[in-house]
Symmetry: C2
Subunit: 508 residues, 2 copies
C-alpha cells in the first residue's frame, strides 16, 4: 500500500473524465428534449452514441481495475462509510458490472432497443401487438442473457431478475420486492374498493382554462418555495418531463403545460423538483465521481413522490398556497373553495393508464407490471400470452378492463425501448420509502406539518438533506433505510399515511 492518496487521486482523475463525458451526453439529451431544431436529430443520435461509447471504453479501462485492486488495502483500513472507502467501493461495484457485459452484447442490445422502440412507436397507435411481439420476444431473450452474465458469477443472486433490478435499485432482491408488493397489494385492493364505492370527487375545476403564462410563473414560485435552487438549475418545457444533472451545481428540471389541465405542469414540476433537490443536496466533495447523484431509482422516486404527493397534495400545503393560486387564476378558481380543490387533486379512480393514475391506485399499475416481468423472465409466461395476462391482472387488481392493447400491454415504452426486468419496481419502492422517510422526519420534527401549513418547507428539506441527500450514492437504499429508520423496508408507514389521508377524505 504505497501512497494510496496518489492512487486515489489517479482514480478520481479517470472517474471525473468519464463523468465529464456522461455530463456532456446528458446535455445532448437535455438540448434534444428542449431546444434542438428538428434538423439536428440525426447527428445528435450519432453524437450521443459516440460519447456513450467513449465513456464506456474509458470506464472499463483495465487501468481502473488495477487501481481498484491497488486501493483495496487502503479501503479496508478505513471505516465502511468513510468517503474514500465509499468511493472505492461504489466505483468497484459499477466497474465490475460494466466489465462483465461484453461490448458486442451491449452493441446488440442498444441496436435492438432502437429498432424495437421505432416499431413500438409505429405499432402502438395501430393497436398492433402482433407487430411488436417478435421484438418483445427478442428483448426478453436479451434481458435473460444480460442477467446470465452475472447470475453464475456473482454471489447473492437468487433470481434471474436480481441482476436486472440491481442496475436501478442495487441490493433489492426480487424475493423481497415481491413480498413487500404482495403485502401492499393486499392492503390497496380493498382500500381502492372502499373508496371507489363512494361518489367520485368532482374534479372539473382542474380542467377550466389556465393560461400558460400564469401556470409558468406559479410553477417557478412553487419549485422555489419547496427549496429547488434556481441558482443551480432551471425549468424548461419538454414533452415528457424529466430531471437531469450536469454537475451538483447544475441540476435541471423540465415540465409540460396543458392549458386545460392544471395538474400537468404543477405536479410534474413539484415531482421533478423533488428529484432535483436530491441531486442538488449531494455533498459537493462528491462532484464528478460515482458518489454524486441519487443512490437508486427507488430512493429517487421516494423524493419526487414525497414532494409531489405527501407535501404537494396535502391539505396543509394548499391552505397556504391555494389563495395564491386563486389570485393567479381568478377566472377559473375564484368560485372553487379550498376543500373542493383539495378533493379534486386527490381524486381516486380506477383507470387504465399508469401515468395518469392517482396516488392510491398508481401502485397497483406498477406492481402488476413487476409481476408480469418476473413471470416473463421465469419463463412462466410467454410473450404471446402477455396481452391476455395483462387484461386479467387489470380486471383483478383495478376492476378495469383495457379495451385494446394500445392502452393495455403497449402502454409503456419501458419493455420496448429499454429492457424487461428491473424497470418498474422503483416507482412503488419509492412510494413505500416516501412513507418511511416522511414518518422518520415527523418523528424528528413533529412541527413539520404545521410549518408546511404556513408555507415553510425548510425544516423538512433540511432533514432530508442531512439524512438522505448529502450521502449521494454512498449508501444503498437498504443501508439508507436502516440508518434512517433503524429497520428494514416495510410498508406500514406508507399504509398509515394513505389510510390517514384517504380515510379522512372519504370518511372511511
Amino acid at each position: 500500500m504505497t501512497n494510496p492518496q496518489a492512487k486515489l487521486q489517479e482514480l478520481k482523475i479517470h472517474l471525473i473524465e468519464v463523468n465529464d463525458l456522461e455530463a456532456a451526453n446528458a446535455l445532448l439529451y437535455w438540448d434534444q428534449s428542449t431546444y434542438m431544431p428538428e434538423g439536428g436529430a440525426a447527428a445528435r443520435a450519432r453524437q450521443s452514441a459516440t460519447l456513450s461509447k467513449i465513456a464506456h471504453e474509458r470506464f472499463t479501462d483495465p487501468g481502473i481495475g488495477k487501481l481498484l485492486d491497488n486501493l483495496r488495502p487502503y479501503e479496508e483500513s478505513l471505516p465502511y462509510d468513510a468517503d474514500d472507502a465509499s468511493l472505492i467501493r461504489i466505483t468497484r461495484r459499477e466497474y465490475e458490472r460494466a466489465v462483465k457485459v461484453p461490448p458486442a452484447f451491449m452493441a446488440e442490445l442498444t441496436s435492438h432497443q432502437a429498432d424495437s422502440y421505432q416499431v413500438w412507436a409505429a405499432a402502438r397507435p395501430q393497436n398492433d401487438f402482433a407487430r411488436v411481439q417478435p421484438y418483445l420476444e427478442k428483448m426478453l431473450d436479451l434481458s435473460r442473457k444480460y442477467s446470465d452474465f452475472f447470475l453464475g458469477e456473482t454471489p447473492g443472486y437468487e433470481h434471474i431478475a436480481d441482476p436486472l433490478i440491481d442496475v436501478a435499485d442495487y441490493g433489492m432482491k426480487a424475493s423481497t420486492v415481491s413480498a413487500r408488493f404482495a403485502e401492499l397489494r393486499g392492503q390497496l385492493v380493498p382500500l381502492v374498493e372502499a373508496i371507489t364505492a363512494q361518489q367520485p370527487a368532482d374534479d372539473t375545476c382542474l380542467h377550466r382554462h389556465f393560461p400558460e403564462a400564469g401556470q409558468w410563473t406559479f410553477g417557478l414560485d412553487i419549485a422555489r418555495v419547496i427549496g429547488y435552487d434556481f441558482g443551480r438549475g432551471r425549468l424548461d418545457k419538454t414533452h415528457h418531463p424529466f430531471t437531469t444533472e450536469f454537475s451538483i451545481g447544475d441540476v435541471r428540471i423540465t415540465t409540460r403545460v396543458d392549458e386545460h389541465d392544471l395538474r400537468n405542469a404543477l405536479f410534474s414540476t413539484i415531482h421533478e423538483a423533488g428529484h432535483a433537490m436530491y441531486e442538488q443536496g449531494v455533498n459537493p466533495d462528491y462532484e464528478g465521481t460515482p458518489l454524486a447523484g441519487g443512490t437508486s431509482s427507488g430512493v429517487h422516486e421516494s423524493q419526487s413522490r414525497l414532494w409531489e404527493n405527501v407535501v404537494g397534495r396535502s391539505r396543509g400545503f394548499w391552505q397556504f398556497y391555494y389563495p395564491k393560486l386563486q389570485a393567479v387564476f381568478p377566472d377559473a378558481l375564484a368560485d372553487v373553495p379550498l376543500d373542493s380543490f383539495y378533493r379534486s387533486i386527490n381524486k381516486v379512480q380506477r383507470s387504465l393508464i399508469r401515468t395518469e393514475a392517482d396516488e392510491v391506485t398508481y401502485n397497483l399499475h406498477v406492481m402488476l407490471r413487476f409481476d408480469l416481468e418476473l413471470a416473463l423472465l421465469e419463463g412462466k409466461l410467454a410473450v404471446r400470452d402477455l396481452p391476455e395476462a395483462w387484461r386479467a391482472r387489470y380486471e383483478a387488481d383495478l376492476g378495469a378492463f383495457p379495451a385494446d392493447d394500445k392502452d393495455g400491454v403497449m402502454q409503456d415504452v419501458h419493455w420496448y425501448g429499454g429492457i424487461i426486468g428491473g424497470v418498474f419496481q422503483g416507482y412503488t419502492l419509492g412510494n413505500i420509502m416516501s412513507g418511511l422517510f416522511w414518518e422518520a422526519a415527523l418523528r424528528a420534527h413533529p412541527e413539520i406539518p404545521g410549518e408546511i401549513a404556513q408555507g415553510q418547507c425548510g425544516t423538512l428539506l433540511g432533514w432530508l438533506q442531512d439524512n438522505i441527500y448529502r450521502h449521494g450514492s454512498k449508501y444503498t437504499a437498504n443501508e439508507l433505510i436502516e440508518r434512517v429508520t433503524g429497520g428494514p423496508l416495510t410498508i406500514e408507514p406508507y399504509i398509515r399515511y394513505l389510510r390517514t389521508k384517504y380515510g379522512e377524505l372519504y370518511e372511511l
Copy 2:
C-alpha cells in the same frame, strides 16, 4: 493501394468521432452562453477541457497519420477537387498542424490564456495596462514559440506570422495581406476624411424605445426572409452574439437586445445568420468530417458582412422592409422617413471602438491591429511601447485619440485571451471578399438588387450556396476566390462598392 475505400471508411469513422466530441463541446459552450445557471460554471469549464483533450488525443492518434499515408496513392489518383481527395488533403493539413505542437506546449498556452484573460478582465475597467503587460509579454513569447514549431519545417512560410495566420485563414501570407491592407488603407483614409468633413448623419431615431418583443419577432422574420433555415437552427439570447454548428442540420445563432439601440439585435442577427447560412449550405455528404464548416475566417466574415452590410444596410432591402419595421414600432418610427432611417444605419464617424464602428471606418480599426501584431512578432515593437504605438496609429488613421488604454490597447480580448498574430486579419479580408463575391454574383445575376428591393433574397442565396457554401472547407480562401472571380484577392470590387454607396449617400 489495397482497398482504399475501406481505409477511407476507417478514417471517416475516426474523424466523425472527433467531430462528435467537438460538437458536444460546442453545445457545452452554447448552453453556457445562453441558458446555463450560474452554479454550473465550475464543472462546465472542467467538462469542456476534458472534451477538448480527448478530441485532441483522438485526432492526433498516430493511427490517423498511418491511414493518411496509406491513402496518399489513392488521393493522387483522383482529381484535386474530388470529395475523397479533398477530405484526405484537408485532414492531412489539419493533422500535420495538430501533431507539430507538443501537448505540453498546448497545455502551457491554454493555461496562460486562462490566466491572462482573468487579469485582463479585472485590469481593463481599472485602465491598468501595467498589470497586463507581463501577461502580454508572455503571450507574445508563446505566440512566437507556436510559430517556431512550423517555421523551419514547413515549406512556404516566409514570415513569423504565417503559421499563425494559417490557423484561421489558411494560405494567406503576411506579405499578401500586408500589401492588400496597405492599398486599402490608402483608399480608406481619404474616403473617411471626405465623409467626416460633412455634416454627420442624425441617428437619434435608432435610440428611441424599441420594446424587446417587437425586436425579437422582427429579427426572427428578417433572418427567415434572408434564408436562414429555422428547421436547422434557432435564435437565442446571449451577451456576445455568435454562431455555432453542431451538425449541418443544426447551426444556431444568438443575439442580444438593447431596447434603446435598434442596431444591436437587428444587425447582429443578420450578421450571425450570414455565418450560419454558410454552414447550413455545406454539402450534406461532408457531415461530421473536416470538410464541413466554413473554409476560413475571412470567407466566413465575407458572408456575415455581405448579408449584414451589403444587403442588410442597403437602400433596396429597406425599401421593402422598412414599412414592416415601422408597423412593428409605430411609436418610434412612424415619423421617420425611409431616407433618414437609411442614412442613420449608415452613419460614418471616427470612433475609438472597433465593434461599434461603421462599415467604412471598421477596416481601419482592424488593419492597425494587424500591423501592430506583425511589429510585435517581428520584434520591432516592444509590448511596453504598444499603448503609445496604438495611440499614434489611431491618430494617423482615424484622427481619433484614445484618452485611456481601457478603450485603447486593452479594448479587445483577442491578444489577452487568445494569441498574438492571425486573429484580426479575417475581419477585413472578409470585407474585401464580400466585395469580390457580391460583384461576381451581380455579374451572374444582374437582377439581384431589383429582387432584393422586392424583398426576395433567393437568387443571391442560391448563387452563394452554389459557388461558396456547398464547398465547405474543400477549397482554401484563395482557391475559392480564383474559382469564383478568375483572379487573386483584390480590393477593387470592395472599393467600388464603398465608393458607389457612400458617394451617393454623401454626394462625394
